[in-house]
Symmetry: C2
Subunit: 347 residues, 2 copies
Amino acid sequence: MSPAESHPSTAGTRRPTLNAVAARAGVGRGTVSRVINGSPKVSARSRAAVERAIAELGYVPNRAARSLATRRTDSVALVVPEAETRLFTEPYFSGIIPGVSAGLADSGLQMLLVLPRDEKEYTRLADYLSAQRVDGVLLMSVRSEDTLPDRLRELAVPTVLAGRRSREEPLRHVRCDNRGGARDAVRHLLARGRATVGTITGPLHMDAARDRLDGYREALREAGADAGEELVAQGDFTEAGGRAAMRELLRRHPALDAVFAASDVMASGAVLELRAAGRRVPEDVAVIGFDDSIVARHIDPPLTSVRQPLQEMGRAMARLLLDEIAGPDSGRHEVVLPTELIVRASA
Amino acid sequence: MSPAESHPSTAGTRRPTLNAVAARAGVGRGTVSRVINGSPKVSARSRAAVERAIAELGYVPNRAARSLATRRTDSVALVVPEAETRLFTEPYFSGIIPGVSAGLADSGLQMLLVLPRDEKEYTRLADYLSAQRVDGVLLMSVRSEDTLPDRLRELAVPTVLAGRRSREEPLRHVRCDNRGGARDAVRHLLARGRATVGTITGPLHMDAARDRLDGYREALREAGADAGEELVAQGDFTEAGGRAAMRELLRRHPALDAVFAASDVMASGAVLELRAAGRRVPEDVAVIGFDDSIVARHIDPPLTSVRQPLQEMGRAMARLLLDEIAGPDSGRHEVVLPTELIVRASA
DNA sequence: ATCACCCGTGGGACCGCTCCCACGCGGCAT
DNA sequence: ATGCCGCGTGGGAGCGGTCCCACGGGTGAT
């Protein structure tokens, strides 16, 4: 905000403008504009002349000028709440974001990375984003009690969420089939002959955690197996939480022979706890995690885990957002992508 | 007409302009502009009136209009080459980027995330970025043979690199003290009574890899210990490369009792190989990695590792870039931040 | 031949801001 | 009193696009 050096960094020569192109091509500004924007109402002659002039001058349209005139910015915000960054382990974001990038690549939209550092910055975001700064918003993670999405909606800012806040999520969003993934994991355990399968859930106010728990229950139910509440322990997506939950499960059910944890990080905590309790993995107790994160590949034993198609999720988010920017209310509002069980040594 | 009709941001309503603020405050546009840009040449009276009007109207300056007038964009590009994303393990980026964000926060600069997907997109980037699209560029990773930085330099685009291409790097950059970090690691091994310390290097065309090797040698030299070439094996920053290098070291030097690997991922490969060869870690062979990544905390045994101050590195990059944008050639061009040895069970 | 029509076209009028020039008006020295 | 200085201040002139209206000339119907 300080009036530092008002000297614009015009170290290089000034770029050619649309006017220069028009002059060079011997046509009017309007015609050049039409060519650039692919309007069909231009004669082949003019078009050729303009295209040559553009090439010769190395002309590139000025985004700011265009934005000002069109009231569009040709950019979308990628919002990653910092608090979540730590909690939800990075591979999630670094997997999904390249997908978004790929999905946006042909549209000419730029990605603005927005990392609010605290609650205050986060809540102020709605105003910030709606102030003609972006054409759309991708919220990379939302909590169930989050109201930012609603405010963006009121402000008519096209928005797509990664994950949903609840089953009644009114906004467009993309998620993986948490329920199906969990179900597959538990089916796998049962198919391998495990009899007593416990689960370590995430915080149950999170929709993904609830869905994974549901998937666990569904698999047990369809197998006619025990799905008693004493086999369910709640974790918090941290390693320490995973350990604590595992300890609790062992206390309640010393004979259990398998555990499905709703995240790899919790699963790794569970493995540590099992080992501390003298159990071997997978001989005594099989363990499956969720996310197929780096951790899964590197702990001992390598973790069987449910993989989310992060890249595809990112692409889907981009597509959904482009749809909404193009025209409100077109097509479906919810994309659920299938997971894949990656089998390793732990189960 | 009546300035009273204006109500703060209702959906769809056009945002108030600077003109509206001027009218409401009963001053000219120039004065409003001065207030917004913190010019001192405004009377307290006018300033107060303007500030009130801004608050009442919920006015936010239009970035596009400002850009157009100032020929600045108030945004910088964050370039993360995709190929590197996979290779260089994600924690690096997800650690540094929040730092950049924090360092940029007060400047009002936005971060444009640019993820070129292939070589073609990457090389085309110089033109793209120089076309008045950004005020500066942060290159999150460069290879030694990379020419993009040079082209940006020719185009007079302020640029800061994470890491340097070679010791003669002409561009501003930030890195951690790779040499010092490696030296500390090896000193630690020697101090714990290890006698024969091998090292697994990164690809030696990378400057960081060379520096880490130098640090290793320096520590051995100052201790008067053996620094023979047969204790050096080259890896490629992958787990498989780490395993292969470890195998090679064991072959050449079956009696070695410590290894310093230039990355955690390679260290984890080394641990696997050691175990396969019947060696216990750390009893028979102590292992230290570099990066203090997630992997380090989760493998068995947890890895002693050299931590890079990623957050601070990000901040430093932001600061360097802001300097260069403000005025070319001010201050130092190279920031080297200290590392920290995180001691865990592996050494 | 006359008219209506359409197609391609040029250019004026913005979009909302910053920059800068010129101007009014007090206070101070003359 | 008269000049001069300098501090706010208003507002014109862009910045580089898009949008849209009006216009010339070719075409086909009458």
